[in-house]
């Protein structure tokens, strides 16, 4: 089965090629969607096969590399088109193909009747292929193909409604911000490659080889530089501070896209990448600290913005940013397993949420369309009371919301709590631990608040939609609800494969399967980290329990506030806004980050470009060129006028010449 790993990205590629080239001719949506879905599903099956085979192997044999063909070989540099299958990538391909299949299926229903249906599926397949390359690549360059490939697909899919200017802008923004990250990624790659090569004559970008040689890496120093650069790449892809602003805008794309790319898979690439290179990152305590801090900051920062958004998808987008922050927090505190675990659970519940919101929007859109209203189908202020019209959507949505809020028993609880615990208990960041935990917990509180705010505004209360339209609201078709149900189910139970040891012990020593599964991957990192981890007294189990309880309480507080504000006392939000107008405006406008970036980067760049062009290129550079020409021409004019036409002037010139020449030679 391992040998067939190349099939995994191949299937979506085939789907992409078929739909891309012939989709326009096929016209039949069922066929197009069928092909697209089938292809990714086949990948899923292969992935399952690989997973099963891997489970059957002893942990130390769970690494397999497959070289497809040599790609770039030049000088010392060597990069093959090759895949790496290990527990980590196995998790990722399962998530990607699994969630991917569901979202493909969902899309058949959701995108029904859209112009360019085939295009959508082609892009979606292409995305899956890129994502799979990203997670399967056995060297940084193959990863980078996927890395940029998903960026491309994200660009294409955000710009799917290309006739909307906002969509185009958002697409471009996404790509460019990703590129900023890629810049970091490349520099990181170069640094690592160069350091290994010039110091140890190991010229490689292959993960396995780097891993084998990673003991040569120093702590800090060049590793800090390299890892920080990589982390810049991760912030770009995973929408962390400071490169997060593209993700909310990316909601211009169709909702399945938001679910697949901007929630479940692509945006987690940064997390995955850090996981993949954990043995490098861990060697730089500074970078780990930065990652943790940025993760925590992003978590709280995005969460605050999420509280004030009215667009249903934007709320989810900021939520995603915030949750990604959690993942980075996990990575930053060395809890790689927890980070990856959260990645997975997040994929379930966030995909479900997005798809649910898509279902809502779909329905709203349909209803509004019927009455020719131009109201915004995504604005939560237009919704309300939808639970009766769309029960399945409501239930799955609620389950996922509970999961994300960290209510015990649901997947999100296990992963998030693990992260918060590790943030508190990690042995690396000294006094910062409390802060990290506190910020994380607060963010969790905000998460619960805005998620339930969303649920309450959308599904509870009276229906604020146009009365005429109300009758048109209905539950979505099966093709949409099946994925919702599957994902809702996973969101609910997905967490049980990674039960914290504490809880597992309580239930008779159920092991943390997930941790065991990933152990071979992160063992080395843990080994390295032991070098500088300070061996303080381990917090007691009781303490752990109480922290867990605290986080639950925090989540409940968030829910409570939301309930108070949006169900019980609906005047409160208005009052709150009126009391703190500046704050609200700031939060509503995303802390003016976009404006800030425009002010700091975009506008100066444009202005500088204008200056360079009109001011420098045309006037100075070309001015010099033309100036030389003009000076020569000016001399031409002068010389011309010396040529006066008078014989005596000519004779004078001759005589002058003679006198000068003679004079020089005689008197010299």
């Amino acid at each position: 089965m391992f040998d067939n790993v190349w099939l995994i990205p191949l299937f979506p590629l085939i789907g992409f090629l078929i739909n891309g080239f012939f989709g326009k001719k096929i016209k039949n949506e069922a066929v197009i969607g069928g092909i697209g879905t089938l292809m990714i599903f086949m990948s899923f099956i292969v992935s399952c096969g690989i997973l099963l085979q891997m489970i059957g192997l002893p942990p130390e044999q769970r690494v397999f590399e497959k070289v497809l063909f040599p790609w770039i070989h030049s000088g010392n540099f060597k990069a093959d088109m090759a895949f790496l299958v290990d527990p980590l990538s196995a998790v990722m391909i399962m998530v990607v193909t699994g969630v991917g299949s569901l979202i493909h299926l969902y899309s058949i229903g959701y995108m029904h009747g859209e112009e360019g249906f085939y295009r959508f599926f082609a892009y979606l397949n292409l995305f899956c292929m890129s994502m799979l390359l990203l997670v399967l690549g056995n060297n940084m360059l193959v990863m980078f193909i996927g890395w940029e490939g998903v960026g491309l697909c994200s660009y294409l899919l955000i710009g799917y409604y290309f006739h909307k200017k906002s969509a185009g802008d958002a697409a471009k923004k996404a790509f460019v911000m990703n590129r900023v990250g890629d810049f970091g990624f490349l520099i990181g790659l170069f640094t690592l490659y160069w350091w290994f090569g010039s110091n140890h004559n190991i010229w490689t970008i292959n993960f396995t080889e780097i891993k084998a040689a990673s003991h040569l890496l120093p702590y800090g120093g060049v590793v800090t530089v390299a890892t920080l650069c990589f982390f810049v790449g991760a912030t770009g892809k995973s929408a962390q501070i400071p490169l997060f602003t593209w993700l909310p805008d990316a909601m211009e794309g169709p909702t399945p896209v938001s679910a697949l790319i901007h929630a479940a898979t692509m945006v987690t690439a940064g997390v995955y990448m850090i996981g993949r290179m954990s043995f490098v990152f861990i060697k730089s305590p500074e970078t780990m600290m930065v990652i943790a801090v940025v993760g925590a900051a992003t978590a709280i920062f995005a969460a605050t913005i999420g509280t004030a958004q009215n667009d249903i998808k934007r709320v989810l987008a900021y939520s995603t940013v915030s949750q990604l922050g959690f993942m980075f927090l996990a990575m930053g505190v060395g809890a790689f397993t927890a980070g990856i675990f959260h990645l997975m659970t997040h994929a379930f519940f966030k995909a479900c949420l997005f798809l649910g919101s898509g279902s809502v929007i779909h329905s709203m859109h349909h209803a509004l369309h019927k009455i020719h209203s131009h109201d915004d189908a995504q604005d939560m202020r237009n919704m309300g009371g939808l639970r009766s019209a769309m029960p399945i959507t409501f239930i799955t949505f609620l389950v996922s919301t509970i999961a994300i809020s960290g209510i015990p028993g649901f997947s999100g609880f296990f992963s998030k709590d693990e992260i918060l615990w590790q943030a508190f208990a990690n042995p690396y960041h000294g006094g910062l631990n409390i802060v990290l935990w506190g910020v994380g917990a607060l963010a969790a509180c905000f998460t619960a608040f805005y998620m339930f705010r969303l649920v309450f505004m959308t599904f509870f209360g009276e229906c604020r939609i146009n009365a005429k339209a109300k009758s048109y609201l209905h539950e979505s078709p099966l093709v949409i609800t099946i994925p919702l149900m599957v994902l809702g189910f996973l969101a609910a139970v997905g967490g049980y494969i990674g039960l914290p040891k504490l809880i597992g012990d309580m239930f008779g020593g159920i092991p943390n399967y997930f941790e065991h599964w990933l152990e071979p991957v992160f063992a080395l990192a843990n080994q390295y980290s032991a070098q500088y981890a300070h061996h303080g007294a381990h917090p007691s189990h009781a303490f752990e329990w109480s922290l867990m309880g605290l986080s639950v309480v925090i989540a409940l507080i968030g829910i409570g506030i939301a309930f108070t504000m949006y169900v019980q006392n609906k005047d409160l939000p208005g009052k709150f806004t009126a009391t703190f107008p500046a704050l609200h405006r700031a939060v509503y406008n995303k802390w003016y980050i976009d404006e800030l970036y425009d002010f700091i980067f975009v506008n100066p760049c444009k202005a500088f470009g204008q200056f360079l062009w009109k001011g420098f290129d045309v006037i100075v550079v070309d001015g010099v060129v033309n100036g030389v020409a003009n000076v020569v021409m000016g001399f031409s004019g002068i010389f011309r006028y010396i040529q006066s036409g008078y014989i005596y002037n000519y004779a004078f010139s001759m005589a002058l010449g003679v006198v000068a020449i003679l004079g020089y030679y005689i008197f010299k």
Partner: protein, 485 residues
């Protein structure tokens, strides 16, 4: 006292001159007996005569005969230059007839005068006595004064003749004074004797009289080759003279001037090379620069080519500054190819311009490229050759000239030369811009190309292209020619 007995002399060195002189006189006679308006056959006869002379000259290749008590010599150097003169004259004769008919001044005396000019130039090239050189120069000049003013009903032609005459005579004064001082300093006018006398001097450059004589002679020749600051007559005279004569003047006398200059400087005064190359360095730079830069703003194409011809003199001087085999061979090669390309260009100008020398502006070339593609292509080749673009003869010529300078260590001179060359491209391109890239402002008929002109054009095109692609054989001749002096 015994009778003066005219010594037995070897006439071989001056056979071509004698042949041409006799031919010229025959033509003069024929002219008298032929009715006006039917003078074309004189052109044909002169062309055939020139061709025959060329054979005669060619037969002398490889010989080395001094004659007339050292007044003339037959050597490869002279032979090569004689070929250039004959070529220039031949082409000029071919393009003259049509033009002269059109300008209604097809007097039969034209052809004998051209032939006499050639005789003068030949004497300059083969003369080894300052007297011979001077008289050759005068034969050439006096003929040219007449030729420049040949279209006597045309004010511009009159003016050109008069200007050329006055300034030419003025420069002759300096030349002669230089010869006088040289004579005084060395006691002889024989080039080879001067060489041996100067060679025996302990410090020739300290001999101010010799130095001054050399400098004054150089100014005299600088006038003939139109080197700055003795160049100022050139544009006016070239513009005013009948176009075929302009073509002739730009190719022939310039080459003759170089022939004499080379002979005097390299044969008689090689010991003073440091001094004269220093002066020529300055002159070369000045000439190139003034010529090229002033040409940039010319609308009248004859005038433009006149300035360009000044610049070309500058390039050739670069080769002379070097004074080594490469550079001087370069001059020879360049003069030959210059004759082809410049006369070719003037031939096109003749075809484009109208009676009374109207349509002589660059703008009048507008649209030529697609109305008369062959002419335009020919013109393009001439212009690119003048600009020194490969693969034309002009490029190889310049290459050798600048190579000579580089070889001698005059790198900056070569750099200035190439920069000038680059600037010059502008005005050559300008003509092409009008030919190909602008539409004609008004519709008018183009002059028909007569057979002789067509022949001249074919020869010129071939002469501008072939030496650019396979220059070896000509360069080989040039090398041999300069080896002996």
């Amino acid at each position: 006292m015994d009778m003066i007995s005219i010594p037995v002399v070897n006439m071989t060195p001056i056979l071509p001159e004698i042949f041409l002189s006799v031919l010229a006189m025959v033509l003069l006679l024929l002219n008298v007996f032929s009715p006006s308006g039917k003078k074309s056959y004189l052109a044909y006869i002169s062309f055939i005569g020139i061709a025959a002379t060329a054979v005669l000259v060619g037969a002398g290749w490889g010989g080395h005969i001094e004659s007339f008590s050292g007044a003339v010599i037959l050597d490869n150097f002279a032979t090569f230059f004689k070929m250039i003169f004959l070529l220039a004259a031949g082409l000029t004769v071919l393009i003259s007839d049509q033009y002269m008919e059109r300008e209604e001044c097809n007097h039969g005396e034209l052809y004998p005068l051209i032939l006499f000019t050639v005789v003068g130039m030949m004497l300059m090239a083969s003369g080894t006595d300052l007297m011979t050189i001077f008289l050759g120069l005068e034969v050439m000049s006096v003929s040219l004064y007449v030729l420049a003013g040949f279209n006597r009903n045309n004010k511009k032609s009159n003016e050109a003749g008069l200007k050329y005459f006055l300034l030419g005579a003025f420069s002759t004064g300096f030349l002669l004074y230089g010869m006088a001082l040289t004579y005084g300093a060395t006691g002889t006018t024989r080039v080879y004797k001067i060489a041996s006398v100067v060679g025996q001097m302990t410090l020739p450059s300290a001999n101010i009289m010799l130095l001054a004589g050399m400098l004054l002679m150089m100014t005299g020749f600088a006038f003939k080759i139109a080197a700055a600051p003795f160049h100022m007559w050139t544009p006016d005279v070239y513009e005013g003279a009948p176009t075929p004569m302009t073509a002739f003047m730009s190719a022939g006398p310039k080459a003759a001037g170089f022939a004499a200059l080379l002979r005097i400087l390299l044969v008689a005064l090689p010991t003073l090379q440091i001094e004269w190359s220093q002066l020529l360095w300055v002159l070369a730079v000045l000439t190139m620069t003034v010529g090229n830069i002033t040409a940039l703003r010319q609308d009248n194409i004859k005038r433009m080519l006149a300035y360009s011809s000044i610049a070309h003199a500058g390039y050739a001087l670069v080769g002379l500054v070097a004074g080594n085999g490469t550079g001087t061979a370069g001059i020879l090669f360049y003069m030959l190819s210059y004759a082809f390309m410049n006369i070719g260009a003037f031939a096109i100008i003749i075809l484009v311009s109208k009676k009374g020398e109207t349509n002589g502006n660059v703008m009048d070339f507008a649209g030529l490229g697609f109305k008369r593609p062959l002419l335009a292509v020919a013109m393009t080749i001439f212009l690119f050759s003048l600009a020194g673009m490969p693969p034309t003869a002009g490029f190889i010529g310049k290459f050798y000239l600048f190579s000579g300078a580089v070889q001698k260590g005059y790198i900056w001179l070569a750099v200035i030369g190439v920069l000038n060359s680059a600037a010059s491209v502008y005005y050559y391109l300008r003509v092409m811009v009008y030919m190909y890239m602008k539409e004609p402002t008004e519709e008018f008929e183009w002059t028909q190309v007569t057979a002789p002109v067509a022949l001249a054009l074919i020869i010129s095109v071939a002469g501008s292209m072939i030496p650019g692609i396979v220059p070896s054989f000509i360069l080989e001749f040039a090398q041999q020619a300069v080896k002996l002096i």
